[in-house]
Amino acid sequence: MAKLPKPEELAKVDYTLPKTGWMETPVVFKEGMFCHGSKPKSLELVGFPNPRDWRPADADWKLPENWKQILLEGIADRLEKYRSFRLFMDICVRCGACADKCHFFIGTGDPKNMPVLRAELIRSVYRKEFTLAGKIFGKMAGARELTLDVLKEWWYYFYQCTECRRCSVFCPYGIDQAEITIIGRELLNLLGLNIEWIAGPVSNCYMKGNHLGLEPHTIIGNLEYMLDDIETVTGKRIKPTFNRKGAEILFVTPSGDLFADPGTYTCMGYLMLFEELGLDYTWSTYASEGGNFGFFTSNEMGKRLNSKIYAEAKRLGVKWILGGECGHMWRVLSQYMDTWNGPADFLEVPKSPITGTVFENAKSMKMVHVAEFTADLIKNNKLKLDPKRNDHLKVTWHDSCNVSRGMGMLEEPRYVLKNVVNNFYEMPEDTIREKTFCCGSGTGLNASEDMDLRMKGGFPRANAVKFVAEHHGVNMLANVCAIDRATLKPLMDYWVPGVNVCGLHELVANALVMTGEKERTTDLRGEPLPSVQAKEEKA
């Protein structure tokens, strides 16, 4: 791996354009800007086509002989299946409104990272093969032949898009680059051109139930560590249940929460909250993944991985499903799950057993985001909270792309946050809510070999955090997304050292006064509470 340049250097983004037109400028694979190619084993496990050993930087990709035909048939097939795709191939006027909205363009200055141009990579081939004007006028009509160079360009740039949809907010026709990237990656997948950081988790999730490949006993073991820590902090021993039939609620969260901090602190937060509520719920080791890396390869794989959630809810006989903090997980759940694997008519409309609130907004898909659940608890005064315990934190809120632009969950987490912390500062308004910036590492790009790309893509997000850090002394970046929790930390360490990252329910659990708990002296991370610090200073 190449050494990451210093932040001062990376911040000097070069926006000068190549001298040659974009069609005449072949793609150059830059170290640190792409991920390793998929390993054959990962593809074989789930039955993906054309598994083989290959390296993106090699000249020879060992493509099947009829690769061009496979791609063109793949495009034709998807034009028939997706109105979004067909329409978005036709109606772009290249007004350029999307160009400087993309975090990858802002961070790299590479013109092919302008959403409009990233779409043109595939649109130009569409014109050549599927439109009359393109067939007759060729390049004059913006059409070009599908060549090996074009294919490589697709691969390079469709894996430099995190499907965050920020461009589609600004597009006058709602053209969504995420749709084009999704289909572009599906096409690449037909040739076995996946990345291992996605293909590995996908096969793990398929066989073992979660991306990280945690086996049943490991899941329990990992949770035991957290339970020990909770006991240390609160003096209470919690005993969650697993795969328990007859529980009222099935709880599904991204497996990242089970694995490494700061996700584990969020997970401790869920455990403590549910314990305090006396919630009748169960974890599942089979449906142990809320996230869905399958969605980053193909619609079909997304569906295959997602099927476990409803299947497990049915097997266990629960009434409804509660979902943990995650971003893309919630785009998949809210916009795809019911369509793919519904109807979930064996479940009941979610109803909070604590407040009696019926979640009418999840009437059909039967799954509630834990931020919605907790907001309702707080509104109904069901939690005893002591936000002073979070007084050592100055918090800002990162809206995750998918819950913002693929769901619209903006106020629920803010309501929770304002009730559990005293110091909350918003980032500049053009960088939050529906205009929020991606962490730069979504859609399975959170590998270690593409750190340059990640730091560049995360530059706009980090820049907004830096603003509140400098103006308000913000030292904590809170969010509801497992990928964010994993990726924002290195991003902060690089761009805004001193800012930590946490999930919403870590802050909830810090503030949560539990019945019978001992007097807390530390937060979940073992850091002394502000009150304790003050006492020590007095003494």
Binding site: L17, K81, S84, D338, T339, L410
Partner: protein, 330 residues
């Protein structure tokens, strides 16, 4: 280069009309045959285009949500930016189509002091887009006077409104100036901003020059080279009543104007200009955010291979039992 090719193409088109009418005297061809063909091409191929879009289903409910979802009753729902029903979608689309809501959000991202990103107002593109489209529409409405025996009230009102400045004889239409100005801005923006120039295709310059040509010839006819309006109206009435005839005394400027319009009509269904129809079908805008409330059906949803719980338990039964997990089969 792409701009020059587009410019030359429009000049050639104008020359074709001039030569055709003035030298070859093909007035019937340019006054009757080509207009009919152009309009027929427009209608037929636009219908085909829209049917083609319509024939591809919308498998997933994928609105881009730009505001707060409808969830708990005490949280203020953003009805227009994240619609939860038909009314909300109609409102969202009305804002989008009539006022270019999304384009209005436009920002200019800039790097200041080497490393600070700022997001400035950037409403010029929106303003020019609005100015162009609305004045184009008004001009179109004004032209209806040529196609109707009794000029409708609405058309007269449009004309009155358009000439409210009361300058010159004939009265200056504001839309003429605004439309040409807006097109000029859109062109200058395209060649002036390096990134814009980089992404632009001939497909982008050509319609601009074509429309500029149509506007210019129209203006020349109205204010400078006077055309026999009575004859033009006779021609137009003949065309719409399917009883075409070519009256004498119509100057070449009119035929150039008409031929460029015909080109626009015929070019329309094969170009990016189809965004006019497409915006009404865009899945990220025309769908309400209801996928959690009501199951959205994918017509081509098909069964897939899954790794069942049974298979999972078979893989891990011993480990599960060791860890004290309940199992289905002992």
């Amino acid at each position: 280069m792409k701009a020059i090719i587009s410019f030359i193409a429009v000049i050639i088109l104008a020359a074709i009309a001039y030569v055709g009418v003035e030298m070859l005297n093909a007035r019937y061809l340019f006054g009757v045959v080509i207009p009919y063909l152009a309009v027929a091409t427009f209608i037929i191929f636009m219908i085909i285009r829209i049917l083609k879009w319509g024939s591809s289903p919308v498998p997933f409910r994928i609105p881009t949500t730009c505001g707060q979802q409808k969830s708990l009753p005490w949280i203020k729902h953003s009805k227009l930016e994240n619609p939860s029903g038909v009314l909300g979608v109609m409102g969202r689309m009305a804002l989008e189509v009539l006022f270019f809501r999304s384009l209005f959000r436009n920002l200019k991202t800039q790097v200041q002091d080497g490393s600070q990103l700022t997001y400035g107002e950037a409403k010029w593109l929106w303003a020019a887009g609005m100015a162009f489209h609305w004045s184009f529409l008004l001009i179109l409405v004004r032209h209806l006077r040529f196609f109707t025996e009794q000029v409708p009230m609405a058309v007269k009102m449009a004309e009155g409104l358009d000439s409210f400045l009361q300058i010159g004889t004939p009265l200056l239409y504001v839309t003429d100036v605004v439309m040409l100005g807006a097109v000029l801005y859109l062109f200058l923006r395209r060649i002036g901003i390096p990134q814009m120039r980089y992404i632009s295709l001939i497909n982008d310059y050509f319609p601009l020059f074509l429309i500029f040509g149509i506007g210019t010839t129209g203006v020349l006819m109205r204010y400078f080279y006077k055309t026999d309006i009575i004859s033009v109206k006779m021609l137009a009435m003949g065309l719409v009543s399917f009883n075409p005839s070519v009256p004498q005394g119509i100057g070449p400027m009119f035929y150039i104007h008409l031929f460029l319009i015909c080109t626009l009509f015929a070019y329309f269904p094969f170009s990016k200009l189809v965004h006019m129809g497409g915006v009404f079908m865009s899945p990220t805008r025309v769908l309400a955010n209801t996928s959690r409330v009501k199951r959205h059906i994918n017509p081509w949803n098909y069964p897939v291979h899954v790794h069942t719980y049974e298979e999972y338990e078979n893989d891990f039964r011993a480990k599960m039992k060791d860890a004290g997990l309940p199992v289905e089969k002992e």
